[in-house]
């Protein structure tokens, strides 16, 4: 086995090996280029974020426009403050609503943005004013039971939605 043949085969091996890694990165995984694109941050606070995970997508009209960057608890208001990293290419109005949604019945939890009509846009670091928390199944069930119970002899006043 002479030197030239060995060099050739090793070269081929290393090339297809690195090619395999690149293939896995691009075609099998999704090399999210959002980390390298210019981006800005928005904040939103929720009563309950439900099953929202870090790096969950932020979607508007079903299109991914950002990712959840971090979550913390505000010690004064006891609300969850979520930081969103948004793609620079998409601007949202100041009266945008942020909702915590589930894709499908048991799918992944994500944040959906519904833009409003305000001509002024949210800038880096600003807070989305209107938010809708996650639907927690237990609360739904207890609400249902409460409704059922109170729709007995006395008329119910109904729970107030927030």
């Amino acid at each position: 086995m002479n030197k030239a043949t060995i060099d050739l085969w090793v070269g081929i091996f290393v090339t297809i090996g690195i090619g395999a890694i690149v293939f896995l990165a691009l075609k099998v995984g999704n090399l999210m280029s959002l980390e390298t694109k210019p981006s800005y941050r928005l904040e939103a606070s929720f009563d309950n974020i439900g099953g929202l995970k870090l790096r969950a997508p932020v979607k508007a009209a079903g299109v991914i426009v950002g990712r959840v960057e971090s979550v913390r608890l505000d010690p004064k208001t006891y609300e969850a403050v979520v930081t969103l990293r948004m793609d620079d290419g998409y601007q949202f109005s100041k009266d945008t609503i942020a909702q915590i949604l589930t894709s499908g019945l048991l799918g992944e939890v994500y944040i959906g943005l519904e833009a409003g009509g305000d001509p002024a846009m949210l800038a880096d670091g600003q807070r989305v004013a209107k938010t809708q928390s996650a639907v927690v199944i237990e609360k739904l069930i207890s609400q249902f039971l409460f409704d059922k119970a109170s729709s007995g002899p006395t008329p119910s006043t109904g729970p107030s939605a927030k």
Binding site: F13, F23, L24, K27, V28, G29, N30, M32
Partner: protein, 268 residues
């Protein structure tokens, strides 16, 4: 006398432990010495290139064929299980995640330990038996720099590449079975897979895992060869230890790494 037997038992355990610890210490010094001599392995790049050929290129067939078959089986079994929950469309992401995160690094690592690891151990052990290592020492050439370090680095470099190739062949095999044979929609297959596998952490963790496995297996292989008893039985025992020890190390490290890497996912 039972007391005698118990005492003897304790002494044996104690002796065995002492010897194991001493061997572990020797192995650590050996590893540091190999690292110390590694620059020489890269100065004479030809030596390392040659070892990449023997460890990596000669394992290509085994790795790629195995990858193909594992992928095909994953496709079959995976579809069978997923279909029960109406989740047949998730075949792509199931296969992709299994391979990239776990099966690629681990199975390729096990195959590598048996094929390349045992070959390296046998080669170094045989050189020790026929006094070639001694002869080299007496010619003022350090065998650690000339024989051991290139083989170590050849293994370390080959492992991640082989694991990636294994995963790719596996995905292809699952594609053959899932899309061509069973009839899962091609777009769904690839689309779900792409949506579900992140470059970071899935692919990169897979690469990190396979690199760690490569270091462990290569180190065990060169150490066992260097430390082998210079007889026929000694080399045979050393080769066995490489395959068994390397495989166990891979599985144990896999557990440890998985806990560290994938524990963080899904939590806030």
């Amino acid at each position: 006398m039972p007391a005698d037997a118990i005492a003897r038992g304790f002494r044996r355990v104690g002796n065995g432990t002492m010897r194991a610890i001493a061997r572990a210490g020797f192995a650590t010094r050996f590893f540091l010495a190999v690292l110390y001599h590694s620059p020489a392995a890269f100065h004479r790049l030809q030596l390392t290139v040659r070892e990449i050929y023997f460890a990596g290129v000669l394992s290509l067939v085994v790795i790629m064929v195995s990858g193909l078959f594992v992928g095909m089986v994953l496709g079959l079994q995976g579809y069978d299980a997923l279909n029960k929950y109406g989740a047949g469309d998730s075949l792509g992401i199931f296969v992709g995640l299994s391979l990239v995160r776990e099966l690629g690094p681990v199975v390729a690592g096990l195959l590598f330990a048996s094929r390349a690891g045992s070959a390296v151990t046998a080669e170094i052990g045989l050189m020790k038996t026929t006094e070639q290592l001694s002869a080299m020492e007496m010619m003022a050439v350090d065998p650690l720099a000339r024989i051991v370090a290139p083989r170590f680095w050849g293994g370390v470099i080959s492992m991640p590449l082989l694991a990636a190739l294994f995963s790719v062949m596996g995905v292809f095999g699952a594609y053959l079975v899932g899309v061509r044979l069973i009839g899962v929609d091609s777009g769904t297959f690839w689309g779900n897979m792409r949506a579900g596998i992140e470059f970071w952490p899935d692919v990169t963790n897979g690469i990190i895992k396979s690199t760690v496995f490569g270091i462990a297996v290569s180190l065990i292989a060169v150490f066992e060869g260097y430390d082998a008893n210079p007889t026929a039985e000694g080399v045979s025992a050393a080769t066995t230890r490489t395959v068994v020890g390397g495989s166990l190390a891979i599985l144990a490290l896999d557990f440890v790494l998985t806990v560290f890497m994938f524990r963080g996912l899904g939590t806030v």
